[in-house]
C-alpha cells in the first residue's frame, strides 16, 4: 500500500471553529494513516544484515570492556 499524496497546505482560516483543523490538516491526515501502518516485510538478506550488525555491537561492547580493563591496569 503506497501512501496517498498529501493535500496542499491549507491557508490560515481564523474562524473560531475551523482554524485549528485547517492549520493541522496535514497532521490529522497523517495521524489517520499512521494508525494503519503495520510491519514491513523483511527478506532474508535484510534479516541477515540486522543480525550481523547486532553481533557487531555485542562484539564491540566486549572489546570496549577489554580496553577499559587494559587501561585500568
Amino acid at each position: 500500500m503506497q501512501r496517498q499524496p498529501l493535500p496542499p497546505a491549507a491557508g490560515p482560516d481564523t474562524s473560531p471553529d475551523s482554524w485549528m483543523d485547517a492549520a493541522l490538516a496535514e497532521h490529522l491526515q497523517t495521524q489517520a494513516w499512521l494508525e494503519n501502518l503495520g510491519p514491513m516485510p523483511m527478506n532474508l538478506g535484510l534479516r541477515g544484515l540486522m543480525w550481523l550488525l547486532r553481533i557487531y555491537v555485542l562484539f564491540m561492547i566486549t572489546v570496549v570492556g577489554v580496553n577499559v580493563a587494559q587501561l585500568w591496569r
Binding site: 496535514e26 495521524q31 544484515l49 540486522m50 555491537v57 564491540m60 577499559v68
Partner: protein, 457 residues
C-alpha cells in the same frame, strides 16, 4: 504528531481512542502552524526561518556535550593544530547526512524514530534499538553531569549543588509545558557553546597554521595512528554521531509540528547547527593547542584541570570561559538527551509524549524526562564510582552502537510506504551508506588496535 495517535496517560491502555490528543496540545501546535503558514503566505522568509529552526541547531550543539568538548580539548592538547581540525569538520558533515534523514522522517510521518522502528521492524528489533539507546543515553548523561560538576568546580561550586542545579535547570525548561518555550530556552543556552571561540582567540593561535590544517589535512599525528591515537579518533567521531541524536531530532521535528513543506527549512536548520557545532569544536581544539606546543601532559585532564592549565595562555578570563563552556555543554546535553529518552519512552510505551502537553496529560513523559537526569546526577555523587572510565569510553561506545542505528535510518528513509515522494534519492543513499560504512570500519580498526598489541595504521 508527537502523541496524536496514542493514549493520554489518563486514559486506559487498550481502549479505542480515535483521537486522544489533548486539546491543549493540538491548540498549541495549531498556533505554531498558523504562524508558519502566515509567514510563508506573506513571504516573510526571515521570520519563517526563525520559526522553523530549532531541532537541527539543538541536536548539533547538544552533541557538542561535556565529553565531546573534553575529547576535543584532549585532541588539541595531544596533537595541536593539524589533521584533527578538518577531520572534525568531516564528522559533522557526516552527522548532517544522518540527521537530514530524521528531518524528512519526522516531517513526513509526524511521529518519532522509536515509534517508526517498532511499527515497521517489530518488537524484537525495536527492543534492540531501545537497549542501545538506553545504554548510551545513561552513560552519556552521567558524563554530562561529570562535566557540570567539573565546570562548576572551577568556580568553587560544590558537587551536590552543581548536580542539584543541573537537574533543576532541566526541570525549569519544562515549566511552560510548551515545545516552543522549551526549544527557545534550550537554544539560548546552546548557542553559549560558541564561548570556545573567544577562548581560542585569547590563546593567540597561529591562524596561518589553522588555515593550512584545513587545506592540507596536516600535519598528521606524530607517530602515526597507533592505539591511543585511534582511541582519540574514535572518540572524536563519537563526539558528532550518536544514536540519541536520531531519536531526539525526529522527536523534536514531530513535536514542533513540521510539515512536508518545511523540509527545506529543516535542512537549513540542521546545516546551520552542523556549522555552529564545527566552529565550537574547532575552537576548542585550537584553544587547547598551546598545551601541545608547551608539551603539557594533558591526556587524563578533566575540565577543571584543562581550564587551570590554560591560564598561562588564555588568561584567567579565558580559562574561566573554558570552564563555563564545559558546564554549559553538560547542561544543554543533559536537557536534550533527557528529551530523547523521554520521547523514546513515550513512543515505545505508547504514552502521551509532547512538550506541548500539560503535566497531568503526560505525567510519565515528564517524569522520565526529569528522572533520567536526576539518576545520572545522583550516580556522579556516588563515591568511588568509576567516572573516569565512563568519560573515557562514552563516545567510543556511542560510535560502536551506530551501525545498526544507521541501518534502521536508511531502511526507513527508503520505505516508500512511509516516505512516498520524500524517499531518499540514490545520491543521499550513497552518502548514508558511506557514513554507515565509515563508522563501522572505524569500529573495526579500533577493535584491532585493542586486540592486536602494537597495531597501527
Amino acid at each position: 504528531m508527537a502523541s496524536g495517535t496514542i493514549q493520554s496517560d489518563t486514559t486506559q491502555p487498550g481502549t479505542t481512542q480515535p483521537d486522544t490528543t489533548p486539546k491543549e496540545e493540538m491548540a498549541a501546535r495549531a498556533r505554531d502552524r498558523l504562524q508558519v503558514l502566515t509567514a510563508r503566505q506573506s513571504g516573510r522568509w526571515g521570520r519563517l526561518l526563525w520559526l522553523l529552526v530549532g531541532p537541527g541547531i539543538l541536536v548539533m550543539l547538544g552533541e557538542n556535550d561535556a565529553p565531546s568538548m573534553l575529547s576535543y580539548s584532549a585532541t588539541g592538547a595531544r596533537f595541536g593544530v593539524g589533521f584533527f581540525l578538518p577531520f572534525v569538520a568531516l564528522t559533522f558533515a557526516m552527522a548532517f547526512i544522518a540527521q537530514e534523514v530524521t528531518v524528512r522522517l519526522g516531517a513526513v510521518s509526524k511521529t518519532g524514530h522509536a515509534d517508526l522502528i517498532y511499527r515497521r521492524f517489530g518488537r524484537l528489533w525495536g527492543n534492540f534499538a531501545m537497549a542501545d539507546l538506553l545504554f548510551t543515553n545513561v552513560l552519556t548523561l552521567i558524563t554530562e553531569f561529570v562535566g557540570i560538576v567539573a565546570g562548576a568546580g572551577y568556580f568553587g561550586i560544590p558537587k551536590s549543588v552543581a548536580v542539584a542545579g543541573g537537574v533543576s535547570l532541566v526541570t525549569l525548561t519544562l515549566a511552560a509545558h510548551r515545545y516552543w518555550v522549551w526549544e527557545r530556552l534550550t537554544l539560548a543556552l546552546a548557542v553559549c557553546n560558541l564561548v570556545f571561540v573567544p577562548v581560542a582567540i585569547l590563546t593567540h593561535p597561529h591562524w596561518g597554521r589553522v588555515a593550512s590544517a584545513f587545506a592540507t589535512w596536516g600535519p598528521l599525528p606524530r607517530g602515526g595512528f597507533g592505539a591511543s591515537t585511534l582511541t582519540i579518533l574514535l572518540a572524536d567521531i563519537g563526539a558528532t554521531i550518536t544514536p540519541w541524536m536520531l531519536f531526539f531530532q525526529q522527536g523534536a521535528v514531530s513535536d514542533k509540528g513540521l510539515a512536508t513543506s518545511d523540509v527545506f527549512h529543516g535542512r537549513i536548520d540542521t546545516a546551520l547547527g552542523a556549522f555552529l557545532a564545527t566552529l565550537a569544536a574547532a575552537a576548542c581544539i585550537i584553544a587547547a593547542s598551546p598545551l601541545f606546543i608547551h608539551h603539557m601532559p594533558a591526556g587524563q585532564f578533566g575540565a577543571a584541570q584543562f581550564a587551570q592549565a590554560l591560564v598561562p595562555y588564555a588568561g584567567r578570563f579565558g580559562a574561566a570561559l573554558f570552564a563555563l563552556g564545559i558546564l554549559e555543554a553538560g547542561l544543554v546535553a543533559a536537557t536534550t538527551i533527557s528529551a530523547s529518552s523521554a520521547y523514546a519512552f513515550g513512543e515505545v510505551a505508547r504514552r502521551a509524549h509532547s512538550l506541548n502537553a500539560a503535566a497531568r496529560q503526560a505525567p510519565s513523559f515528564y517524569l522520565v524526562f526529569i528522572l533520567v537526569a536526576a539518576v545520572a546526577g545522583a550516580i556522579v555523587l556516588i563515591p568511588g564510582f568509576p567516572l573516569e572510565a565512563v568519560v573515557l569510553m562514552v563516545n567510543i561506545v556511542a560510535v560502536l552502537t551506530m551501525p545498526p542505528a544507521v541501518a534502521f535510518l536508511l531502511i526507513l528513509a527508503n520505505d516508500r510506504e512511509i516516505m512516498g515522494a520524500y524517499k531518499s534519492t540514490s545520491g543521499l543513499n550513497a552518502l548514508g551508506v558511506g557514513v554507515g560504512a565509515f563508522v563501522a570500519l572505524a569500529g573495526i580498526v579500533y577493535a584491532l588496535s585493542v586486540i592486536i598489541p602494537g597495531f597501527r595504521l
